[in-house]
């Protein structure tokens, strides 16, 4: 849990973070969303004290960050950035092992943890642990970067536009992987981005920021359906709003329980956008729906998408 309470930061006369308060509960993936210069990265970097703040308090796990030595604090908090910053003179294994070694884990434990993390990111441990960063593709480097951030099982993970520099296909895969890993590990994550689609896809909670303040805080669907003001409305995009809504809403919410339909079933967790896409591709207006175990539980019709 992170509690940011009335925190401000100025550079000279310019106030980049302005009396900002935000509480992120355990297991929540909170996205700080805003255009460049809105103070989102500064906010993130104040949490692990890479940037000192002028006023207010920040607590991580109930503890005031200014009462913890910065190095000790940072070893408890995973940190992944857009430019990755893998150590070029170290192997993948050494890179991932950075924080566990700082924490004096035993060699055996470090080795096992590296294998476990490479596995989690679907990289073959024996192939990858001995490679150097320059031998990896951009997507692989970013996977290793995030694995390194998770290595010592931190209570909190900070991510600063981690997928902004990779190509769209890789970004899509990395987002899916992060969503999966977030579900699997239940980590608390603060994620900075300027990409609304990315925010809608990953966030439990989105904080839209402008000029150092949070303009609106809410679940993705909430923000799309009830934008607080014109700024948010402009930011989430007046055009294509309907499609964004479809991408956030789940089939499960519109299910016709007990009804049936022909064809390959879609999952309850799939978005309405995926349902629309499947209907268009299969030239049908009804699709069967199954639960996580693959049991057919109902159907969804075209009209349900726009209800």
């Amino acid at each position: 849990m992170i509690e940011i309470d009335n925190v401000s930061k100025s550079y000279g006369k310019h106030r980049v973070v302005d009396r900002l308060s935000l509480t992120v509960g355990d297991g929540v993936l909170c996205v700080l969303l805003g255009s460049s210069g809105c103070g989102k990265s500064t906010t993130l970097r104040m949490i692990n004290r890479l940037i000192p703040f002028d006023a207010g308090t920040i607590r991580v796990g109930g503890e005031d960050v200014r009462h913890v030595p910065p190095e000790a604090l940072r070893r408890r908090i995973g940190y992944a950035i857009q430019s990755i910053g893998l150590f070029p003179h170290w192997t993948v294994e050494d890179n991932i092992a950075t924080v566990p070694r700082l924490l004096k884990w035993s060699q055996r434990r470090v080795r096992d943890r590296v294998a476990e993390l490479l596995e989690l990111f679907r990289l073959d441990a024996e192939t990858y642990r001995g490679k150097h960063p320059h031998q990896l593709s951009g997507g692989e480097q970013q996977r290793v970067g995030v694995a390194r951030a998770l290595a010592a099982d931190p209570e909190l993970l900070l991510m600063d536009e981690p997928f902004a520099a990779v190509d769209p296909i890789t970004r899509d895969a990395l987002q899916a992987e992060l969503a999966r890993i977030h579900r699997a590990t239940g980590k608390t994550i603060v994620f900075v981005t300027h990409d609304i689609e990315e925010a809608l896809r990953l966030a439990t909670v989105i904080a839209i920021m402008d000029r150092g303040r949070i303009i609106q805080l809410g679940a993705p669907l909430d923000i799309l359906e009830h934008p607080a003001n014109d700024f948010v409305r402009d930011f989430v995009g007046r055009q294509g709003l309907g499609l964004k809504l479809l991408s956030v809403r789940k089939i499960g919410d519109r299910l016709r329980r007990g009804e049936t339909a022909e064809g390959e079933p879609l999952s309850l967790d799939a978005s309405l956008g995926e349902a629309l896409s499947a209907m268009t591709a299969r030239r049908t207006d009804r699709l069967p729906v199954c639960d996580a175990e693959g049991r057919r539980v109902g159907a969804i019709a075209l009209g349900d998408l726009v209800r």
Binding site: L50, Y79, S83, G85, H89, L102
Partner: protein, 246 residues
């Protein structure tokens, strides 16, 4: 190293030639006698070339070691937040050290520390500092911002960042600076002979004074081989370090 690669390596042949001339210069006696008929002795014989070489090696090693340690330490200092303000000053001082002719340094140092090895080491030290500082600063500042931010964000302390990240990544450039500095020092050390230091420059100056060309040639050839051989060795070391820093 396998034999095939050893025999194909220029370092090996230059080293072999250098060692052979150092120990058996008298093998060239007929050639030198034909070149300068009537000069006797034709091979410099007041000291053995090996002794001259070892003495010069000691001077260069002492000066270069001191210049490397203090140069890298200064570079580290001026690239840390605490020392950033001193950067221009350190650079200016090193540049002055470089523009000061070594002969002038010798002339100033002799009245203070006496004749012999000491003024020579001082001159070599001052003269060799600049390339080391410049390269080390460039190397340390060349470490990418992303790498430094990641290191700090993961909780490496300032010392850990220096020893585990900055210095290893800057190592190839630091070594390149040391290599330039050492090569200059080997050539410059010869003028130490004018203030009584024993170097391979001693036969050169004796030869000039006594108008004995063979002495000049013997000294000059050995100094050149010494410098080339050392440069090649350090270049190898540098190439070996480079893949670590990518």
């Amino acid at each position: 190293m396998r034999d095939g690669r050893l025999l194909g390596s220029p370092v090996f042949w230059v080293g072999l030639l250098f060692a052979a001339l150092l120990l058996r210069m008298d093998a060239l006696r007929p050639v030198l006698q034909r070149m300068s008929p009537g000069v006797e002795p034709v091979i410099y014989n007041r000291d053995s070339f090996l002794a001259l070489f070892l003495s010069q090696l000691g001077l260069v090693a002492a000066a270069s070691l001191a210049a490397s340690l203090s140069g890298v330490a200064l570079a580290v200092f001026v690239t840390r937040p605490a020392g950033r303000d001193f950067r221009a000053m350190v650079n200016a001082l090193a540049t002055v050290g470089q523009t000061f002719p070594p002969a002038a340094v010798l002339a100033i140092a002799v009245p203070m520390v006496g004749f012999g090895a000491r003024p020579t080491v001082i001159a070599l030290f001052l003269y060799g500092l600049l390339p080391i500082i410049e390269n080390a600063v460039a190397g340390l500042e060349g470490v990418s911002h992303a790498v430094r931010e990641a290191a700090e964000g993961m909780g490496l302390s300032a010392w850990q960042r220096l020893y585990q990240v900055d210095l290893p990544l800057a190592a190839p450039l630091i070594l390149a600076g040391i290599r330039v500095s050492v090569t200059i020092a080997i050539g410059t050390a010869t003028i130490g002979s004018t203030v009584g230091a024993l170097t391979l420059g001693t036969p050169i100056f004796d030869g000039l004074v006594a108008n004995k060309l063979p002495f000049v040639i013997e000294g000059a050839v050995l100094v050149a081989l010494f410098a080339i051989f050392t440069d090649m060795l350090l270049a190898r070391l540098e190439r070996w370090l480079r893949p670590l820093a990518d």
